[in-house]
Amino acid sequence: MNGQTSDFIATGVLYALLFVIGSWGLNLQFDTAGIINFGYIMFEAVGAYTVAIFSLGKTGLSQGQQQAFVAFSLPFPLPIIVAVVVGAAFSAVIGAIVLRRVRQDQQAIVLLGMTLAALYFVEADPGFLNGSLGLSLIPEPFIGSNSASPGYEWAFVGGVAVLTVVCWLLVRATTESPFGRALRALRDNESGAEALGYGAFSLQLRAFVLGGALAALVGGIFAYFITTWAPASWGYAETFYFFTVVIVGGTSNLGGIVIGAMVVVGLQQGFEYLPDIGNSELGVALQTICASALMVAFLALRPRGILPERRHRVYEPDVRSTSSQPVPADPIRSSAG
């Protein structure tokens, strides 16, 4: 295996892992809590920018002739921890505003509008987060700004893999907890769940915050890996790939989402190898068209994805009546919309 192939594979594996974590977070918001977050990428950007300004510091900024409204130079694990905390706090604020005031189908537009407004604001104001150039030269964990060896890259991927397992345990614990059951009850029958005393707002807000924190984590890792973060990295269309992962893989099925992430990353990385036929953008174009077609096809023909959501066990006194277990709602036909 030569260096370039190793690099290519390491990058692909890392992107797949980040897609997995991010899509679990999106799924918590999207299917478990029923919030259509068309601005998911904004929460990823919050994490990435936080990592950048908390690890660059004043010296890092002046080296790259960059500006930011605030800068600290913290050692490695701290910036990413701060990023997750900031992401959660940011989600709590946005969620508290959006969930309380707006109906479900308009939440998507509000969040999309907020993302675009944030994006245009960052681009327009160079003093805030270095405008459309973005922040670069972000020091990587342990090695700082020294160039990364192939071994380091694989160690990075290994570290993220461990983190993915931790996230899996966390998300699973959440969805299998009474909290997760209450969210599903709310999703499948909102008025019924509210009649049982489950308040929609606080449950949904907690799911939204958890999803936003995972998005910030993904953004932070991403910023570390590519050592740069700019408005071009978080165009609103990026959110679409997370939705594709969730819908193709299977809503509310953590394993299915892993498969969905592999499909999407395979699609993205595969088109990198496309020979150049006259138009340099053809690969990007075909990649988007394939992903869109895949997503629409799944929504039309197999709305529950490759691996559908498992039925959850329900305690019932009579063992013979287990056949009456509730079937998870079909995501495209659920009455919640």
């Binding site: 505003i97 907020m114 681009e123 988007t288 036909r333």
Partner: protein, 289 residues
């Protein structure tokens, strides 16, 4: 300062008129099909590129506007027939339709990118300016204003005064009841998507004229304004769309004159978010039920 405002007033009104034309098309789709159609912006991108190819081939710009309107109308009918109607028939909820149209819009944009590439293009303009006090307006802007006003008013007149318009309004209010009263809802939907596609195509070319140079993705700056104008006016209400378009158009012009042109999109989107949070049914709707 007053002088700066007066100078930019001419182009602000032109932009607002184009915005009104485009928003009426967008909002009509929502009215008859209940779909927040996120392909609409990408279709404007298609319009810009087709119009550019036509004008490069020697076709007059104003003829190209009409041809492009027809072309985008046909594509819109295809989107309605191949994507929106089948998905609605499967019982897709409004946000599923949003994701689907989002995906199709991205695919359309990608198709334009693959076909045309990321180059910057600009139309050759006729030139010539007219003055009215300190308000300055070019010949092209005058034509743009004329076309936009004519199209918007004629859509309004058709909706208001013809049997066809009455059937469309009935479909918008209650499709099932309209169907039972003998309105061919399916035909109404197809024709509405055709007409709104024509508005979308013309709007795309006219906005490209205002912007100057454009790429396959320039619509991404204009489309949020359309959504904002539609929401401010109450989605699905053509009259509200026109009012919303003028409000958004003038607010952005004012913002760029007073603060900085870099922030005009931020301000417009801020208005969108604020209206959705405070008056989600639009500014001009009296009752909240």
């Amino acid at each position: 300062m007053i002088h700066v405002l007066a100078v930019s007033l001419g182009s602000a009104v032109v932009v607002a008129a184009v915005l009104a034309l485009s928003t009426v098309g967008f909002t009509l789709r929502y009215a008859v099909s209940g779909v927040f159609d996120l392909t609409y912006g990408a279709l404007m991108g298609v319009a810009m590129v087709i119009a550019f190819i036509l004008t490069e081939a020697g076709v007059s710009l104003w003829v190209a506007v009409v041809v492009v309107g027809l072309a985008v109308a046909v594509i819109s009918v295809m989107v309605e027939g191949l994507v929106v109607r089948p998905m609605s028939a499967r019982g897709a909820t409004s946000w599923v339709m949003m994701i689907v149209t989002f995906a199709v819009g991205l695919a359309i944009e990608a198709a334009v990118l693959g076909f045309w590439g990321p180059s910057f293009n600009s139309f050759t303009l006729v030139g010539g300016t007219h003055r009215l006090g300190s308000v300055e307006i070019t010949t092209d802007q005058l034509w743009t204003l004329l076309i936009a006003a004519l199209c918007t008013l004629s859509v309004g007149a058709v909706l208001r005064f013809t049997q066809w318009g009455r059937a469309t309004r009935a479909t918008a209010t209650n499709p099932r009841l309209a169907e039972n009263c003998g309105v061919r809802v399916r035909t109404i939907r197809t024709v509405t998507w055709f007409a709104s596609g024509a508005l979308c195509g013309m709007g795309g070319v006219l906005v490209a004229l205002q912007v100057g140079s454009f790429t396959y993705s320039s619509w991404e700056l204009f489309f949020p304004l359309i959504i904002a104008a539609a929401v401010v006016g109450g989605v699905g209400r053509p009259g509200g769309a026109v009012a919303g378009a003028f409000l958004i158009g003038l607010v952005t012009a004012l913002a760029s004159a007073v603060i900085s042109s870099a922030y005009e999109d931020v301000i417009a989107l801020g208005v969108l978010v604020a209206v959705l949070l405070v008056r989600p049914r639009g500014l001009f709707v009296r009752t909240a039920t």
